[in-house]
C-alpha cells in the first residue's frame, strides 16, 4: 500500500509526459486526482496504524534488491514518518490544486510536481538507507526544474544555487552513510537493523565524523544558519506552489533525516554533541527571526521565518537526543513537539506561501510597503493571512503553539538556558508578523489597489483546507500527538 502511494504519482507523471494534447484544465484535474491517491492511501494507513504497538516500524513492505550489500527496497512507517508523509501528500494536492502559472507548459509542470511527490513520499517512507538516499537526490532534481523553469526573475540562478548547495549536502550524507554502513557485519542498509545495532557506538572519532557528515548535509537541507542563504533566493524566484512544497515538504527532509539517522543510529555521539546542535538551533531561531524582521519583501520575510521555525525543530531534536538516559518524559515531549512543528510549519508556511502566490498573481509585487489597508478590499485574503500569521507566531488554539509549547517545555529539562534564550524567538516572531499584517492590510488603501480582487474559489478552498487543519490541530491535537508520540516513545526508549 505504501509502495502504491509512492509510485502512483510517478505513473501519473509518466502518463503526462508520454501523452500529448492535454489542456491546462485537464492536466490540472488529472494531477489533482493522481496526487489525491497517496493521500487516501495514507489516510487508510493512518487508520491501520496502531500507536500502542511495540514495534517501531509498521506496515512494512520489503523486496530484495542487492542482498550481498544488505540493500533492499524497504518501506514502512513509525508515528513520525506517517505524520510527515500524510502532510506531504496533503500539501501536494494543495500545491497542484492552487491556480498556477504553468507558462504554456501545463503537462510538464504537473508532471514534475507528481515526480517530486514520488520522491518526497519515498523519502519519508523509506526504511533503507540507500533507498532513502536515492529519493533524497531525486527530490533535488524535481525541485530544481520546478524553480528553474517556472520561476520568475532570476530563477535559473536561484535554482542552480539551490541544487549545487543541497547536492553538496547530499554528498556529505552519502559519505556518512558509507561510514555508518561499513561498520556493520554482515553489511546492511536496513534502518531498523542499524537502529538496533548502533554500529558506530564506542568508535569515537569515526562516529563523530559520520555525525558531522549527516548534520552538515541535513543542516543544509533544513536549513540552519549559516547554511540557509539558498533558501530566500529559491523561495523568492519560485512559483508559489513550488515554494509551498519547498518549505512544507523539502525542508522537513533535513530535520526528518536528523531524527531518522543520526538521532536514532548514532545515539551516543549525538548525545555527546547535542548541546552544540541545540546552540545551532537557537542561533537559527534568533537569527532567522531577526533577519525576517529586517525584510521588506513579503516572500523573503516568510522565507526567513522558515529558518526560525526549523530552528525550533532542531532545538527540540537536540534536547530529545541530549541524554542517553533520564528525563525520558521531557525528551519525548521535545521530540514530539519537534515533529509537530514540522507538520504545523508545513501547513502554516505552506498556506503563507500560497498567499504570497495570490499576491504575485494579482499585483506582481512582493514589497510590503507598496500595499496597505487591504483588509476591506480583500477580506478573505486578509482573514487567511491573519489566521496563518497568528498560527505562525504560535497562538494557542492553532497548530504552531502545540508544537512550540512541547519543544520549549521538553527542552527545558535538558538545556534550560537554550530553551530560555530560544523563547525570545516567539517574541520576535510575534513582532514581525504583527508588523507584516499592519503594513499590508491595515491603514489606508492606496488608490491603485482599489480593483484588487479577493480570493477565487479554488484559492479559498485550498487555503481553507490547510487552515482548517491548522485550527483542528490547535484545538484538538490528540489524534496527531498520540501517533507522533508513539514514535518518540519507541525511539527514545522509556
Amino acid at each position: 500500500m505504501l509502495t502504491a502511494a509512492i509510485f502512483i504519482p510517478l505513473a501519473g507523471a509518466l502518463a503526462l509526459v508520454a501523452t500529448r494534447d492535454w489542456t491546462a484544465r485537464a492536466a490540472r484535474a488529472f494531477a489533482v486526482a493522481v496526487a489525491a491517491v497517496p493521500l487516501v492511501l495514507l489516510i487508510v494507513a493512518w487508520l491501520r496504524f496502531d500507536p500502542g504497538a511495540g514495534e517501531l516500524f509498521q506496515l512494512v513492505e520489503e523486496v530484495e534488491w542487492i542482498p550481498t550489500l544488505g540493500v533492499a527496497y524497504r518501506v514502512g512507517v513509525d508515528g513520525i514518518a506517517l505524520s510527515l508523509a500524510s502532510l506531504t501528500a496533503l500539501l501536494f494536492v494543495a500545491a497542484v490544486a492552487f491556480p498556477a502559472e504553468h507558462q504554456g507548459r501545463p503537462r510538464q509542470y504537473y508532471a514534475w510536481f507528481l515526480f517530486l511527490e514520488m520522491a518526497s513520499l519515498g523519502l519519508f517512507l523509506a526504511l533503507d538507507l540507500l533507498v532513502f538516499y536515492v529519493f533524497f537526490d531525486l527530490s533535488l532534481v524535481g525541485m530544481y526544474f520546478l524553480i528553474g523553469l517556472w520561476g520568475h526573475g532570476d530563477s535559473r540562478r536561484a535554482a542552480l544555487k539551490f541544487f549545487v548547495y543541497t547536492l553538496a549536502g547530499s554528498l556529505s550524507i552519502l559519505l556518512a552513510i558509507l561510514g555508518l554502513v561499513l561498520a556493520t557485519d554482515p553489511m546492511t542498509f536496513d534502518m531498523a537493523a542499524l537502529i538496533e545495532q548502533q554500529p558506530l557506538a564506542g568508535t569515537g572519532a569515526r562516529a563523530g565524523f559520520a555525525l558531522l557528515g549527516f548534520l552538515l548535509g541535513f543542516g543544509i537541507k533544513t536549513p540552519v544558519v549559516p547554511f540557509h542563504t539558498w533558501l530566500p533566493a529559491a523561495h523568492v524566484e519560485a512559483p508559489a506552489p513550488a515554494s509551498t512544497i519547498l518549505a512544507g515538504v523539502l525542508l522537513k527532509m533535513g530535520t526528518f533525516g536528523i531524527i531518522r539517522i543520526p538521532l536514532a543510529m548514532l545515539r551516543e555521539s549525538f548525545a555527546e554533541y547535542a548541546f552544540f546542535i541545540g546552540v545551532v538551533g537557537v542561533v537559527s531561531i534568533l537569527y532567522g527571526a531577526l533577519v525576517a524582521l529586517g525584510q521588506d519583501n513579503l516572500k523573503r520575510r516568510i522565507a526567513y521565518t522558515s529558518v526560525n521555525h526549523m530552528g525550533y525543530t532542531i532545538l527540540g531534536i537536540a534536547a530529545a537526543g541530549g541524554l542517553l538516559t533520564g528525563s525520558e518524559q521531557a525528551r519525548q515531549l521535545a521530540l514530539t513537539g519537534a515533529t509537530v512543528e514540522m507538520v504545523a510549519h508545513g501547513l502554516i508556511t505552506g498556506a503563507l506561501f500560497l498567499i504570497t502566490g495570490s499576491f504575485w498573481q494579482r499585483a506582481r509585487d512582493y514589497e510590503m510597503d507598496h500595499y496597505g489597508g487591504l483588509a476591506r478590499q480583500v477580506p478573505m485574503l486578509t482573514g487567511a493571512s491573519v489566521l496563518a500569521s497568528f498560527a505562525s507566531l504560535g497562538l494557542p488554539g492553532l497548530a504552531g503553539f502545540v508544537a512550540e509549547f512541547q519543544i520549549f517545555v521538553g527542552t527545558f529539562a535538558v538545556f534550560p538556558w537554550l530553551a530560555a534564550i530560544g523563547l525570545l524567538g516567539i517574541l520576535i516572531t510575534a513582532a514581525l508578523f504583527l508588523q507584516l499584517l499592519q503594513r499590508v492590510f491595515f491603514g489606508e488603501l492606496p488608490s491603485r489597489w482599489s480593483d484588487l480582487s479577493d480570493l477565487a474559489g479554488s484559492e479559498a478552498a485550498t487555503l481553507g483546507v490547510l487552515l482548517a487543519l491548522v485550527v483542528l490541530i490547535g484545538v484538538f491535537p490528540r489524534w496527531l500527538l498520540d501517533v507522533i508520540a508513539s514514535g518518540s516513545r519507541l525511539l527514545l526508549g522509556s
Binding site: 541544487f163 518524559q329 521531557a330 517574541l427 491603514g443
Partner: protein, 649 residues
Amino acid sequence: MTWSLALLPLCAGLLLWAWQAVAGRRSVATTRLVLAGGAASTLVALGALAGWATVLHARAEAAFGAGLVLSAELTAEAGVVTVLVPVIALPIVVYAVWHEEAAALPRLVGLLLVFTGAMELLVVAADLLTLLIGWELVGALSWALIGYEWEEIENPQQAAHAFNATRFGDLGLFVAAGAAFASVGSLSYAELTVLDGTALDVFAGGILLAAAAKSAQVVFAPWLFSAMAGPTPVSALLHAATMVAAGPYLLVRLFDVLDGAPWFGPATLAIGLMTALAAGAVGALQHHAKRLLAASTSAQYGLMFVAVGAGYPLVALIHLVAHAALKALLFLSAGVGQAATGSYELARMRLGSRLPVTALLTLVGSLALAAIPPLGAAWSKERVVAAATHEAVWLGVVTLGAGALSAVYATRFQLLAFGPTRSEQPSPRPLVRGPYAVETGALAYLAALCVGLGALWWPASRRALEDWTGSVVPAGATWEVVASLALAAAAIYAVWAAGRRQRLLQPTLLGPGRAVAEWFGLPTAVRRVVVDPSLALAHALARFDDRVVDAGVGGVAVLAGRAAGALARSDDRVVDAGVRGVAALTGWAARVLAGLGELGVDGSVRLLVATVAGAGRDTRRLQTGMLHQYYIIVAVGVSLAFVVAAVWR
C-alpha cells in the same frame, strides 16, 4: 460543564461575529437588538453557569495528547472571578452595542464575547498548559480589540505594542511551565506544591514576570496607554475584570506554591508599591480621561500586588472585585464624556451641569476609587493597608500615601470631567450628543454594584469570605482607618481647592509634569532602548545576511571555480605531461622488451601463466574487497549525472 464556561461565550461570540455577513441587509436597529440580545443572554447564562459550577466545586479534565492533560477546577478564588467576569462584561457589552458605530459592530461584540471566554478559560485552569492557552488567547484578542478601528494605522500599531509587551511576560509562563515539568514531570497546579530550590525560584520568577506584564506593573505600565487606542468598552473590559486582572488573579491562585520562594513576598510587594506610587503620580497629572484611568488601573493593581506580597491573597482578590466594578463604571463614563464633547481631553469636559445623571453615577465610582466609606472599595483598600502594616509599619504608611494619591486622581477625574460648569466659564459648546438610555442604564447597574459591595463593611460578610476561601483577612487598626480617611479628605480638599483656582490642568503643561504624566518618559525610553535597537539590529542582520553570509557562499563558489581552473591547467601541464612521459616510457620499455623477448619463448610462456594466475587471485580479492568502493564510484557517478543533467537541461 466546566469547559462550557469558556466554550459558551467563545462559540456565541463567533456566531454573533458571523452576523456581519447579513448585517448589511438588515436595519441598524435589528443588528443592535440581535447583538445585544445574543450577548446579554449569553453573559447571563454564563453568570448563572459560573455560579452553579462554583457551588458544585466543578472539575474537568481532557486529554491534550502526548500525555499532556488539560484540567479545570472551580476553587473558591476561581469561582469569584468566573462569576465576576460575566457580571462586569454584561453592562459593558450592552453599552458597546449602542455606544459604537454600527458598521463593524458584530465584529466588536463577537470579539468581546470570545475575549470573555478566553478569560474564563484562564481563570478555571488548573494546570499550566490550560492557563497558557487562555493567557495567550486573551493577549491576542486584546490585539484584535485594541486595533478594532484598523483604518487608522496608529491603532494596529498601538495594538501591536500592547501585544508585544504582554507577550514578553508570557515568556515567563513558558519558563515556569518548563521548570515545573522538568522538576515535577507534570503541569498540574496540584502537583506543584512539591517544587523547591532553584526550580521553585525559576517557576516563581516566571509567574511573577507574566503577572507583572499582564497587570501593567512598573516597566510594563505603558502598554496600558497603548491599549487606549481601542474603543471605550474595550478599555473598560480590559481593565476591569479581564486581561489586566489576570495578573493578580494568577498570584492569588498559585499563592500557596509561590509563597515557598523566600524572595517572592518582598519582590511582589516592592513591585506593587513602586507601581502604586508611580502610577498615582501619573494619574494625578494626566489630562486625557482614559489615560488618567489607565494609570489608576496600574496603581490599583499595584495595591493588589502589595496585598499578595504581604501574604494576604484574599485581600487582593476582594480588591480586584471592588476595583472591577468601579473601573468599568468610570471608563464607561469617560466614554459618555467623549461622546458628548468629541474628545477625551479633560479640559474640554466639565459636563456636570449638563449631564447631571451621568455626573452623579460617576461620582459613585470616583468616591469608590478615592476609597470613601461605605463603598466596598474603601474597605478592601483599608485591608491592603492593614496587610502592608502587618509586614512593617513603614510599608503601611507608604501604602497609605499611595492610597491618598488615588483620592487625588479620582477627585481630579470627577471634577474635570463631570464637575459643575463654572460660572465664569464662557458659554460652553453644544454637546455632540447626550447619553442614550442604555448607556445610562449600564452606568447605573455598575454604580449599584459599587454601592452593593459596601456590604463588605459588614463583619459577617468578612467571616463568610474567610470560611469559604480558607484564607484570612488581616485585622486593621483604628489609626489606619482614621489616617486613611484624613488623608483622603485632605487630598480631595486640596484638589477641589486647586480646581477652584483653575490649577488642575496647569502642571501637565510644564515640562516635568508632562514627563511624569507620560509615565516618566518610559514609553520613549522603551522605544529608544528596546524597540528601535531591535529593528536596527534586524535590518543590520538582514544586510549582513545578504552581503556577508551569502557572499561567503558565493566566495566558496568563486574559490571552487578558481580551484577548478587551476586543476584544469594542472591537468594540461602535469597530467598531460605525465601521459606523454608514460607513453615515452612505454615505448622505451617496449624496445627493451623486444630485445629481451628473443631470450626465449619458453620463459615467456611460463611468465604468462604465472601472471594470469596472479591476476586471477587479485581479481577475486577485488570482487569481495573492493565492492564498497565500487558502490561509491557508482553513487558519485549517479550524482554527477544529475549535475550534468541539471546544467545541461
